[in-house]
Amino acid sequence: MTTETLRTTVAARRTGVVTWARVRPLVIHVVLAASALVMLYPVIWMVVSSLRPGNEIFRDPGILVKDLRIDNYRVGWNALTEPFTRYLLNSALVVLGSIVGNLVSCSMAAYAFARLEFTAKKFWFAIMLLSIMLPIHVVIVPQYILFSNLGWINTVLPLVVPKLLATDAFFVFLMVQFIRGIPRELDEAARIDGCGKASIFLRIILPLMVPALATTTIFTFIWTWNDFFSQLIYLTDPHMYTVPVALRGFVDSTSSSSWGSMFAMSVVSLVPVFLAFLLGQRFLIKGIATTGIK
């Protein structure tokens, strides 16, 4: 609780009067809880459905059901050509590579754009923004041809190498904005102390952009974990399938699908992402407690 709320709550308790200040935390909680429920309804529905037999899910939709069982999880785990663990591991591999790639390359590029001066900087910045704006569907075919000529199809290379080369310009832009929020005086102080550009980057900028780095990690994790299209195109061997591609293997719009298994495995694949978010949150919390000017 913040100092102010504490102060007012204590004051209210002393007098015993029900003031707005006293009721407010409760109201906030109620509103938040209600919104949370509304937000979560679809997710709750999915989890409940995953615990019901597949062909009942649509016949009898609703979340208040008795007779829940975990069959779908057992069956779904092994329903595809490999146990689902394989797909989880494949996804993990791609995601890890992407996170490392993005953190390293995007922070370097962001530092250059936000703090350094060099010829044609404005031009390159514009190009970077341009690359965010082009829809992926038209570059996918030329990109595929490019990777095919390099012999990288059916490897994770087309999915990870671009991240090592900062092709996720979104994060470059994100980090640029964060770095620009860091007072330049800190850089100056370090420079006066004799630090070179690289030192300033490693010792001053990086530690102060932890929230941005955490955001990058979380988003890269989630977007890569859920990225269907690229993973579909570049991974041809079912051994290499990742989670989103595998999930669609349960479903066929033209014949019967295994919805139970699909929902069950969707819930399973939500778990790592959610955990990543829970853990990564802690780093979002770390902020600047002092000015740092010492």
Binding site: R59, I145, T254, S255
Partner: protein, 434 residues
């Protein structure tokens, strides 16, 4: 410093040129590979749910056991991603050897030279196929898709729903469109709207095709043009409105919602309709979803005679071989196995439709589950009343299902009159044909 950006630009241009040259040419995209020991690797792609994948993989394993020098790599996925991936791999000259193909895209690929003429393929025998079943994959004198399973457009009824409404299941050899509308409306009335009579006509272009065929026309002609007239199309939309006004079909909103629903989520599958239009091989899926024993009926006719209802055998899907495959002979041999081998047939059963090879069908039929057996029997029964095979959609014609769904929606919501919609629909379809 200045040289470096230039060198990189040159590299990028070189890469692009290399890429562009790969589009039209034949520069070593891997379709399958072979090494000195005579070992061949084939890539085989199909769409379908996990059931189909398991069965297909079984057949692959059996084939590999019999042919130790051949390795087959299965690449599978679901319907929508499948076509994007196929288009991308073909564009990169990287297509799989054996491709499960659909009528909507058959000519898109074949007319542009991406598929092999199976008549010229060594090792492929179609002698035992039922004669009417090859037509759908044949055009311009060549065979580009081998029927992988027969299906036909049919009316599915939920007998339990009929019982609840107290309506008798009609005789499908004599019923007309008027009968259809009347019976459906009756069901809706007698159940107080809890169960609606039927799903709408017009959500699938097959309905229009049958309507056209019953009136001496056809949706597509053999030479790749639209073959249905504005008058008959107007009549078709007018009939859809008649169904709506008679309350034989659900509300415009419910129908529109169903158009994009998956099979399991559709109104018929969830027990809200007594009848619907489906492809015969979907009977299994619907039986599972409804939990009922369902029945297939012939499409109503204009004049009350089943022989005139314009039915035809369609290929629910086809086997095709990439024209750029490096192992056409081995690919053809595998397709031959898929289509003609009874052991393979006994595994695949009727999951993709009724086997067109009469011997395989005979072997498979006694092994079928009730729902599959019912659809196989249906296919058998309508055999004597078939019209001519229906030509496959020409280049640009594959999207017609989406187009007609849009116009049926407009008509049902009252946003366009039947004749205006018919004209606009035909104009748009014509505009897409190349």
């Amino acid at each position: 410093m200045r040289h470096i950006p230039r060198a990189l630009t040159a590299l990028a241009l070189a890469t692009t040129l290399l890429a562009a040259s790969a589009c039209g040419g034949d520069s070593g995209g891997p379709g399958g590979s072979s090494d000195a020991g005579g070992k061949v690797t084939l890539r085989f792609t199909w769409w379908g749910s996990d059931t189909r994948t398991k069965l297909t993989q079984q057949v692959i394993d059996a084939y590999q056991k019999d042919h130790p020098n051949v390795t087959i790599k299965g690449e599978f996925g679901e319907w929508s991603g499948y076509w994007d991936k196929l288009a991308t791999t073909v564009a990169a000259n990287d297509a799989p050897d054996i491709i499960q193909m659909d009528e909507k895209y058959l000519r898109e690929y074949a007319d542009r030279g991406a598929l092999l003429d199976l008549k010229k393929a060594q090792g492929l025998d179609t002698g035992k196929f039922e004669p009417d079943t090859l037509g759908a994959g044949e055009f311009d004198g060549g065979l580009y898709g081998l029927n992988a399973g027969i299906n036909s457009f049919a009316v599915v009824v939920n007998p339990a729903a009929f019982k609840t409404a107290g309506v008798a299941i009609p005789d499908d050899t004599t019923w007309t469109w008027d009968d259809f509308s009347r019976i459906a409306a009756e069901i809706t009335t007698k159940t107080g709207g809890k169960i609606t009579g039927t799903g709408a006509l017009g959500t699938n272009e097959a309905g229009l095709n049958l309507w056209a065929r019953q009136n001496g026309e056809s949706l597509w002609t053999k030479d790749g043009k639209l073959g249905v007239s504005p008058e008959k199309t107007t009549d078709f939309f007018k009939y859809v409105l008649k169904l709506r006004d008679a309350k034989a079909i659900p509300s415009a909103e419910a129908i529109s919602q169903d158009m994009n629903a998956s099979l399991d989520q559709s109104a018929f599958a969830t027990g809200k309709l007594a009848m619907s239009f489906i492809w015969s091989n979907q009977l299994v899926a619907f039986s599972k979803a409804t939990g009922q024993q369902l029945k297939l009926l012939r499409i109503p006719s204009a004049d009350g005679k089943a022989a005139d209802n314009g039915s035809y055998y369609k290929g629910s899907m086809f086997w095709s071989i990439s024209s750029r495959s490096k192992h056409q002979k081995e690919a053809a041999e595998f397709v031959n196995y898929l289509a003609n081998n009874t052991a393979a047939g006994d595994v695949l059963l009727a999951e993709r439709g009724v086997p067109p090879n009469t011997e395989v069908r005979a072997s498979v039929t006694p092994k079928l589950q009730p729902a599959d057996a019912a659809s196989a029997k249906f296919i058998q029964d309508i055999g004597k009343d078939l019209g001519d095979p229906s030509p496959a959609p020409p280049v640009g014609g594959g999207q017609v299902e989406k187009i007609i769904q849009r116009y049926t929606t407009e008509v049902l919501f009252g946003r366009q009159a039947p004749d205006a919609a018919a004209k606009a629909f035909l104009d748009e379809v014509n505009g897409e044909l190349k």
